[in-house]
Symmetry: C2
Subunit: 382 residues, 2 copies
């Protein structure tokens, strides 16, 4: 816990909830009668409402992007590195909004919420949600907050995909789009890892076909395996080598199936702690949203055509050691934007940390983001 | 099944079993009182006994490397591509031996065997076996077959590691060492994938702490997940892209958790069919043998020192798209051999198929292996 909160933090923050009582037709064809989104804001919306920034979160993340919920918090929000007074996403200049995605497990309507039609938690009956659905719900949140047009929509990984979808689906409602460590769609390998994670969860005997809430059970083992697997794909081989190498936990081989190597201990810890903070049904939904993301699909598989009508200016960033969504994948977006003569800046950041780099305080990365954010700043009224 | 067996196959083959009734002290410190090895041979041992080749199998493979067990077999042995009359490992010239590793599940003593001390299957009480143990047992098999010195010890992946260990531990008993798609030791990432596979198996409620044989149960889901995960690491991202892309199994999205993409269907099939042919306790043992393999560890982590006393000549091959054991890892072995002035040939084969390439009929690969095998041929008496 922080004894005192650092000056460059947004400090103590409190989440708010917006309720939307009209039915929402989802991309999958199903409708939910009403829903709520939990969100946090940092900084102040200016009079003209043109300094608002939407932060989109990644797979296993949430609306708590910066600051602390209490003085007892061990950790700040997930993007404390980038959001705060004087930081690249400067809360002295910008009004920053981050909401938990629909289908989430941190306060927005999702599988753990009560299905008004049954009086029980949705569980596995919560409809499949897609990135397009999130754009629609976030636009409703923008309406609720009085924001016509975001100064920027920003995200990393799955959040970057949301930012890209925003630019395509609602071109008049954002001026800049920042897409970090993302890809225009998942590869077969990406889908394969997601499928193994889902199989791990769904084959856990405590999953009860997704109705585990009713059985006072949690598919702990399955969710733990899913997280362990995810974690390996977030780190580069080099990052794991420099972090763990082949170090033995007890300094010698034990010749049994207990933990031998530090990396095993680390992964088990990551898996176990994730189970305590995340819901398995939400994890399933988020991986599906990733699999389905493919904005070019509606345009004859031509990403350039998908981007032809975007109005936002783009900043795309990738990390050299990211093998989940490699620089080549990010560059496909850059190339598609160039093909249709859009304004795009691109930074390939040399970093050993793998996909996780987008969350880390890497100077070249923060500098590149900071520079771009000052460019955005220029077209914000004061 | 083959209607007729091709001319360049070794044809119908039959496994044999060698029994070793003296106790074997294992690397882990434990002893097994006796054991057997199942093996196949192809070709004929010449009078001087200098044309024998040992083939070492990989993680989930066995002694059935070439030919067919019956005219009803759907598939030949796992290395039919390379072993046979006129093939790179030419059974017209060489006497080829392949044995199932100790700890295996295809006929050599392993977890499914009866522990003579209890009268029940060893199950989880089968001791941890290492690559060094396999070298010792294979040397006993060589004695049994009257082979003082192999013309070559050859293997891919974990089999390549065995070949390397042979050259280090018993330098006088092989003249050539062929190490394909291997590494001098596992990286933290490699260990991490193995650990997730083990956790999947061990957390399956049908695992019963490894005693599932006694419960008439099989940890199917866990072993299936382990295999799915392994399979993703055997294929390159490119290979998966060209094989499956984002093709949908039913041509449209279904918005549910059934199979959507071809790659999911393929992985589930691979996982399910593996369960019918492999034992979970053996899978655990084989992954541990991989994790523990580290011949440099006994030499102050200096691979060159480990290789200082080898007498074999080496052929090392790697595949450009192999991210499980990348060319860089193979080249560490080459460099270590060069450091101590050993005779080493190296081929980095351009191939898109990932780690699996070592099993596939890739012309450049077969040509390189064929050329090297002719070099071996020169010092075989006729």
């Amino acid at each position: 816990m922080p004894e005192t909160i650092p000056n460059n933090s947004v400090g103590l923050v409190k989440a708010e909830t917006a309720h939307f009582d009209e039915p929402l037709q989802l991309n999958c064809g199903k409708t939910i009668p009403r829903y709520k989104l939990i969100y946090e804001t940092y900084g102040t919306l200016n009079k003209t409402g043109d300094n608002a920034i939407l932060i989109c979160h990644a797979l296993s993340s949430d609306h708590h992007a910066a600051g602390y919920h209490s003085m007892q918090d061990r950790k700040p929000g997930w993007w404390e590195t980038c959001i705060g007074p004087g930081k690249p996403i400067d809360t002295n200049r910008f009004f920053v909004v981050c909401s938990n995605n629909l289908g989430g497990c941190k306060g927005s309507t999702g599988p753990m919420s009560i299905n008004p039609e049954t009086g029980n938690p949705y569980g596995p009956d919560f409809p499949i949600v897609t990135v397009k659905d999130w754009v629609i719900t976030q636009a409703k949140l923008a309406d609720h907050l009085g924001i016509d047009c975001w100064a920027a929509v920003i995200g990393g990984s799955l959040g970057g995909m949301q930012a890209l979808q925003w630019a395509i689906d609602l071109p008049d409602r954002l001026r800049h789009c920042v897409v970090i460590a993302a890809a225009p769609k998942l590869s077969a390998q990406n889908i394969a890892f997601n499928e193994i994670a889902r199989q791990a969860i769904m084959s856990d005997p405590n999953f009860y076909h997704g109705h585990y809430y009713n059985f006072n059970a949690v598919p702990r083992q399955g969710l733990m395996l899913a997280r362990m697997l995810g974690h390996v794909t977030y780190l580069s081989d080099d990052a794991m080598r420099s972090k763990f190498g082949r170090d033995l936990r007890e300094g010698k081989l034990n010749f049994n199936f207990d933990v031998e190597f530090q990396v095993e201990s680390y992964l088990r810890y990551q898996g176990r702690s994730f189970v305590d903070r995340f819901d398995a049904n939400t994890y399933l939904l988020m991986t599906k949203a990733l699999d389905y993301f493919d904005p070019a699909a509606d345009f004859g598989d031509d990403l350039s055509r998908a981007l032809e009508h975007v109005k936002a200016k783009f900043f795309i960033a990738s990390f050299t050691s990211d093998w989940r969504f490699s620089p080549e994948r990010s560059y496909e977006i850059v190339q598609a934007l160039l093909n249709v003569k859009k304004d795009v800046s691109y930074a390939k950041i040399k970093a050993d940390q793998g996909h996780d780099a987008f969350l880390l305080p890497i100077p070249d990365y923060l500098d590149a983001l900071n520079a771009y954010m000052h460019r955005i700043d220029k077209d914000v009224s004061s």
